[in-house]
């Protein structure tokens, strides 16, 4: 099959380039079989729709990540939505105060399965430098988190790294995960039906 890509395909000069492989499967002329979860994972991970729940300084670093210098759109996350009903990935960026906790939980509950949560920054991961009476010491006290990105604020490269880890999780997720026992137990430990 003729490839539309013309540059960097022959690796003249031995430069390190990574060519993305197709998922493990068996192919022939005009057909290709693979595991459903692999194909679904591949499609999902390259088209995640994030919900930027930006509260403070990490939100500005997220804006820089979305900018053209560190482009998050390369990873398929160009369409950021602000409606939880339409998004897959909840990116919590910034300090969550106790006043904001119920709001965050409500947004999380409104998301449809499958949903992932990325906690960006020290404040969202564990309260950060604000060990005070009014700050929630980590969002994992109210919602389950998949990836934590440390930093205050994390560099855009760190955000991209965390995003790629989420992509790994999404790509390798089993189709039966969300209906299994362990997941139900996890949700119940947070009090989510």
């Amino acid at each position: 099959m003729a490839r539309p890509v013309q540059y960097n395909v022959k690796n003249e000069g031995g430069k390190p380039i990574q060519v993305v492989d197709s998922p493990a499967g068996y192919g022939g002329e005009g057909f290709f079989t693979a595991k459903l979860s692999d194909v679904v994972g591949l499609a999902r991970k390259n088209s995640l729709w994030p919900l930027p729940f930006a509260t403070s300084c990490c939100g500005i670093e997220f804006m820089a990540t979305m900018g053209s210098h560190y482009d998050l759109a390369r990873f398929g996350a160009e369409r950021v939505g602000f409606s939880p009903r339409q998004c897959d990935l909840l990116m919590v960026m910034g300090t969550i105060a106790k006043k904001m906790g119920p709001v965050l939980r409500q947004v999380y509950l409104q998301m449809a399965e499958p949903r992932w949560v990325l906690s960006m920054g020290a404040c969202a991961s564990s309260g950060g430098i604000f060990d005070t009476y009014s700050v929630l010491q980590g969002i994992d006290q109210i919602i389950p988190v998949d990836v934590y990105i440390p930093g205050c604020p994390p560099r855009p490269e760190a955000v991209l790294d965390g995003f790629m880890k989420i992509q790994d999780l999404v790509g390798k997720e089993s189709i039966r995960r969300r209906t299994g026992e362990k997941y139900k137990e996890l949700m119940e430990s947070y009090g989510i039906q």
Binding site: K98, T132, Y133
Partner: protein
């Protein structure tokens, strides 16, 4: 240029002329005239400083409170910073009140900006501003039942179970 610069001595003169010896503690830390007034007079002083043509302090820079737990009868100090923009002079005055009856007259009728400043002071210290249109908590959670900035309350949230006292130097 101004005909006669408004100096701290002149302001002090005018204030003492009007209010006599009810105003005490005149000092000038780092060049800013500071004095103490009885709490019943705070509105009168603000009004006088606003209306007077020579003094003209018409900008309320900030309003905050300080808690001195060791001064019986005078534990809470409410501090007003005013600014005369035309002559570029600042002034600070304090009123003291016991923490058991922290009632102070509100400045919202004179300065619209005092609205939220007083709500913040109420939220943090429990100062009751008499006559305030909407005195309720502004920054903290509405259900909070104590005033966090008072010195007896700790900084950290007491409900954390994962902090090791030995490692945190306690």
């Amino acid at each position: 240029m101004r005909s006669m610069a408004l100096t701290n001595e002149r302001i002090q003169e005018r204030l003492v002329e009007k209010f006599g010896d009810q105003l005490t503690g005149f000092e000038e830390p780092y060049g800013l005239l500071t004095f103490i007034a009885p709490k019943a007079l705070n509105l009168k002083i603000l009004q006088f400083l606003y209306d007077d043509a020579e003094l003209g302090f018409r900008f309320l820079t900030t309003l905050c409170a300080v808690h001195y737990p060791d001064m019986p009868g005078n534990q809470l100090a409410i501090v007003y910073h005013l600014h005369n923009l035309k002559d570029n002079v600042r002034i600070r005055f304090k009123v003291f009140t016991p923490v058991s009856e922290p009632d102070i007259f509100t400045a919202t009728n004179l300065y619209a900006t005092a609205n939220w400043m007083e709500r913040e002071t109420y939220d943090f210290f429990g100062v009751n501003f008499v006559g305030h249109p909407n005195l309720k908590r502004i920054l903290n959670v509405d259900e909070m039942d104590y005033f966090p900035m008072l010195k007896q309350y700790p900084l950290e949230d007491g409900t954390r179970i994962d902090k090791d006292d030995a490692m945190f130097g306690r």
